[in-house]
Symmetry: C2
């Protein structure tokens, strides 16, 4: 993570730390903390996650490669950016993003750059989410999905994605933030 | 939540659901689910949270009212939007936002509108985060902080906030998304 002056100001001291859960998809620490103001918080919960990635991918015609899937916690099926987690075997977040785009959509190649780094929730989660901008990607393979993935692939013009973002259909904050940034920098034609 | 065509497509069936934790700041369900493709996921975790709110607040001089606080999960102190949760006693998300802005910053009054509704994480969390845009707010009171809140208040020009957003200092995705949207609609002068 990029650091800024004052990042370490007003840090809390950890008096006691224990794991409540250490399961593949749920790792929770409970910490007894001491604040600089002298107050204590006896049960502060921290969710541990791997680094996450997502991709703003544009094909050679400038269309955005989106996925659509059911999200069980919110209970809705929506369009999203292709996204995933950095596995221990991935050499970098960018390699993870290239692997995920290929697995979930079959698209690959093109030019890649890191576009944004965000925190899913700096109060409750310890991880970061990296967004990559991939241009000139092309269909190189078929999807290779895991058993609990039920994902379809869709191409939209930037104006169509902008429309879905504006009306609140693209609802996932970790995708909305880099997409609004992208459209701030590359305003789509009306 | 606003609904869109196809929101209910490809829904998973819940075969079994149990609470692992029901504590004030951590409520976790574990569900055994059946996917439309016939596959089962025996342990899908859903985090339950109240509705969250945050505020893009501008004073009468057009300065943005930001807060600065330590965030223990990520371990850094950063500038943020004023944010909080909808309490059971709040009549609406907007009322919660007005209460939080007053408690954390002492600012109030002005004109309020709902600006964005986002999902913190539709895969793992069941809640939404509402952003309100408040204009012409003014200092009406002193801060009223809880014992575990250690928050300072800062005024920035939109160009200064834009700078912090661009360089990745404003890192919380639930704040970055509505701020990029705001700057898409109201591009600050260079």
């Amino acid at each position: 993570m990029k650091h800024f002056p004052g990042d370490d100001d007003r840090k809390w001291q950890v008096l006691k730390s224990e794991y409540l859960f250490r399961r593949p998809w749920l790792t929770v620490r409970c910490e007894h903390t001491l604040l600089p103001n002298g107050n204590e918080c006896p049960d502060y919960y921290v969710l541990e996650y791997p680094t996450w990635i997502n991709i703003i991918a544009l094909d050679k015609k400038g269309r955005m490669v989106m996925v659509r899937q059911y999200r069980h916690a919110l209970g809705v099926t929506r369009y999203e950016l292709c996204a995933g987690v950095v596995d221990p075997t991935d050499k970098s977040p960018m390699e993870a993003a290239q692997r995920e785009l290929m697995e979930e959509t079959g698209y690959g190649g093109g030019h890649w750059e890191e576009f944004a780094v965000l925190a899913p929730n700096p109060g409750s989660a310890n991880n970061l989410s990296h967004t990559f901008l991939a241009t000139d990607v092309e269909p190189l393979s078929t999807q290779h999905l895991e058993s609990t993935e039920d994902i379809t692939v869709h191409l939209f013009t930037p104006a169509e994605v902008m429309q879905m973002l504006s009306e609140g259909q693209l609802i996932q904050a970790l995708h909305a933030a880099p997409l609004w940034k992208y459209f701030y920098l590359h305003r789509p034609a009306d």
